[in-house]
């Protein structure tokens, strides 16, 4: 009997608590941004996107060591990386954060028509080179414009340089083969 009245009282009381919460929210400031008319960046109280917003990816080529972790983590295979191994004595410049690099990253393509913004690549990256940005307005009339090659975009390696390192590696391979065939 006591439980019954307590239950009824709780039922009414909790409903009232819920109503207080909703009426409180009724008079709060709305968070919606009227996007095409108002840019989120322009709206007061919206300094920028939230820190965990997931939009267009950015790759800092000075930080990338070509480990391919991001491409392997990508569930939709939108990242394709080509690397060229460096010959001894001609190592690529070290990472901006100071780590060693053994690979020349000759191509780093992200196909944003495929990207699903899952952010798994940023978690896989050991150097923090690939990050999510707050940029989201990058639609295009041509879908090939959405395939971003960050090597070209940041001009981290010119075409001649790529050809040169490839040539060097090929020579190095040949020398190695020769050494293997005719040991001294």
């Amino acid at each position: 009997m006591k439980d019954y009245f307590k239950n009824v009282w709780l039922g009414v009381w909790t409903a009232l608590i819920g109503m207080r919460i909703t009426i409180d929210h009724l008079f709060r400031k709305n968070v919606t941004v009227q996007y095409p008319n108002v840019h989120p960046k322009d709206k007061a109280g919206w300094m920028d996107m939230p820190s965990n917003a997931r939009n267009r990816l950015y790759v800092d080529m000075d930080e990338c060591n070509g480990c391919n972790s991001c491409a392997r983590a990508c569930p939709v295979n939108c990242i394709s990386i080509e690397t060229v191994r460096s010959v001894p004595g001609d190592a690529p410049p070290p990472l901006a954060s100071g780590g060693k690099r053994n690979l020349w990253v000759s191509q780093f393509e992200i196909d944003f028509t495929k990207c699903c913004f899952c952010s798994l690549c940023t978690e896989a990256c050991p150097t923090g080179a690939i990050v999510m940005t707050t940029e989201f307005e990058y639609s295009s009339y041509n879908r090939y414009d959405l395939v971003y090659n960050f090597v070209k975009l940041q001009n981290s390696m010119s075409d001649e340089k790529i050809a040169e390192v490839k040539e060097k590696w090929a020579e190095h391979q040949k020398e190695k083969k020769k050494e293997a065939v005719e040991p001294k």
Binding site: V8, G11, I23, H25, L26, V31, T32
Partner: protein, 350 residues
Amino acid sequence: MEEANFVFNMIGENWIAFAIISLLPMIFLLAYALIAILGELKISAFIQERLGPMRTGPWGIIQPVAEVVKLLQKEDITPDSANKPLFNLAPFIMFAASYAGFAVIPFSSYFVPSGINLGLFFLLAVGSLGIIGLLMGGWASNNKYSLLGGLRAVAQIVSYEIPAAMVILTIAVMAGSLDLQEIIRQQSGWFWNWFVFGGSGGWIKIIFLPFSFIMCIIYIIASLAETNRTPFDIPEGESELVAGYHTEYSGMKFAMFFFAEYANMFIVSAIITIIFFGGWNSPFGDFMGGPIWGVFWFVSKAFVFVFLQIWLRWTLPRLRVDQLMYVSWKVLLPFSFVCFLALSLLVMLK
């Protein structure tokens, strides 16, 4: 006072007057439906800290017009395997039942479409008429969700009619009349004469205040269930039954169901206003009294309860079927019996 109706006073009791009287609530209902749809959209949006519709008109205020136009021009689909006569009849019965309730609603001391002596009983009786439309639509759709929705709706409405009837019985005892105008007239004066505060009378009514408050709450809960609004919307629970009894309806016929639901919302709000909150009486004695202000007071009081219904919809989650029955039979009914006895005692002491 004689049955006052300003239309009869103006043009006499003839056919035109009857036509005008029967159409006036319809005009009100159309305007009200637009406001209520907008209110539902905007209040739900603001409660969730959204903006709601913003594109149609300034701040989206003509969104309901757009919705109505959309519904009117949609294709009117009748499923192949549905029972066509009953399928087409159901929305009309639903709407007719809702609109019938407006026949006795006193909008002002000088306007009530039909001032019959049994207004309160009429509202109770007509309220149970819509069930048939529900059941008909649910069965004729030949869809398992519709049928389940219809059955649930009937089980729910039939059980919640009993506490509601108990409350109405109590009001009949307190007012000594079933005439809605008479009930309202007894609550004239300041707001403490309203039946929610125990009606007019001496200070002894303070002892009985909790009972009349509980009665009011019981009626609000029961009326929510009778209009199938959240938290009692199990007949059309989207997550379980798609849309319940009107799953198969589209276009104009869906609009009629929709319209009937909103009309029902207003009718129960009007009943709460009439029986507990003094109808068209001004809350402050003679301040802003009179028949024209009466319309204002009546409509604004009723809109407060429409707002309450919308507010509750976005606050409380849906009840389970067994909880629904528990609330009706094991909570509302015993409480209403006790309150009925207590308030009858108050009437005897007066």
